[in-house]
Symmetry: C2
Subunit: 312 residues, 2 copies
Amino acid sequence: MSVAGVGEFGLIDRVTARLSYGSTVLLGPGDDGALVAAPDARVVASTDVLVEGRHFRRDWSGARDVGHRAAAANLADIAAMGATPTALLVALCIPADLPIEWAEELAAGLAAEAATVGASVVGGDMSGSPTLTIAVTALGDLAGRTPVVRSGARPGDVVALAGRTGYAAAGLTVLSRGFRTPRLLVEAYRRPEVPYPAGPQAAGLGATAMIDVSDGLLADLGHVARASGVGVDVRRDAFEVPRQMRDAAQALGVDPYTWLLAGGEDHALAATFPPEVTLPEQWRPIGRVVAGAGVTVDGEPYQGVTGWDHFR
Amino acid sequence: MSVAGVGEFGLIDRVTARLSYGSTVLLGPGDDGALVAAPDARVVASTDVLVEGRHFRRDWSGARDVGHRAAAANLADIAAMGATPTALLVALCIPADLPIEWAEELAAGLAAEAATVGASVVGGDMSGSPTLTIAVTALGDLAGRTPVVRSGARPGDVVALAGRTGYAAAGLTVLSRGFRTPRLLVEAYRRPEVPYPAGPQAAGLGATAMIDVSDGLLADLGHVARASGVGVDVRRDAFEVPRQMRDAAQALGVDPYTWLLAGGEDHALAATFPPEVTLPEQWRPIGRVVAGAGVTVDGEPYQGVTGWDHFR
């Protein structure tokens, strides 16, 4: 049955029936607004939107995958501020012929990804639209920590990375060339593995700047460099090309470093730390903050594509 | 110039340049997340989405009007919980050929409406899309008040209304028939006048249930009746047909009570109060909560259209 068949309120009932609520949810869906605990007396909030054909394709990702990815993109933003996610709100715009199951599975994916960090889907809105669109807002709590912004990097700081880069971009290239394997890469594109706890951990360690790697590592470090008024130099030898990525790169005729350095959507976290901080295992040093401007690789401007602009 | 001409980051810069921030904003746009004060240690959150062709038309409303209305729809939800709005986040999906000025004016409208209640636009996301879509999330603070939900109405309670109904629906009918006047009605459709302070006021007075009238008064009271397990009876003589509405109804061959009782999008607030509460001037009694189920008008089922389903 399509969503037009059950109507707006029928669909909302069917989708919210899939949800469960963590301890931060004081009032869930079904009223004019949700009520979420904000024990820190400040709330971190971030919004990300996914548009079909631009951020996902239904033939490349299942509904549940899209739910995981939509949630991950937002939850990672909360983590990148040094906060723990508490809640998601979801605006869903759907073509009338969308199968109900697709919307239900999407909700299940959103809820499952949120549950991995103890957060819940607490509300949202639905509308018909010719374009399938998913706008998610995430909320989070800092538990007294200082938020880690993009503008605090200082020359001499160590640049470190938690999580992986290039996997999602490699998976996307694989799919866009008509292949379905290697599974590791395709699955990484469909459901990013985000190192959420590394965000609050970095805040606790005194990270001077942090960002969610969504546009591509070099592009996102560029945002940090610009906001902080510094330069960033990344060491290429800090990145090892995993076997499956190397094989796929060879088969597809791609430089795997384009994936590793410029591929987005794995939602790794990149942060800068004062040099005296002892980095835990999750945080792998990949470069240095330097005086100047812009991002270099081994001291040289990077020659490849560096990131993604959603209008170009 | 179109949005494609300046690119995603250029457009974000131009739009955020229009914004200013109230005292609840601890960190505004430009980072992975915003940081908003939540002095109550709980945060009310609500999301509403507007899709071009379904919720607005660019030939019927200016960009600034659409911004006002998108903000109002969300801010009213916060007020309907008994809270004071603090912040908006906006996901904007725009066709590449949209003039930049349209996006800038939209942001100005969103910010101006938020400013009327001391709230600010603190963040968002932008993407290209074939369908112009605006998803807004509003946050609010209860200042220690108990949230007013839909499920607390009890038989014997007084049903009261703050704000007006039927104006936006009348304005929409006027526009859809190709007219531009009466201005009062058309302007009411373009920019709803929401009685925001009446929300926290009702919470303070001990309202047992409250809802934002967005689908239509009878439909929204139906949500309250269903959630509370009660019936609601509305008195038709509690509604006076304003002169311009009467004239327009006559000219267009419409029963003006269809607008008053079933027209949505004015974002009035409807609430139920224990009978002993002395209602202030802003809250006009319009009916009674009764034992039973459903919504009646003068004790009888209403024969007209009662509301709006976004998929039908």
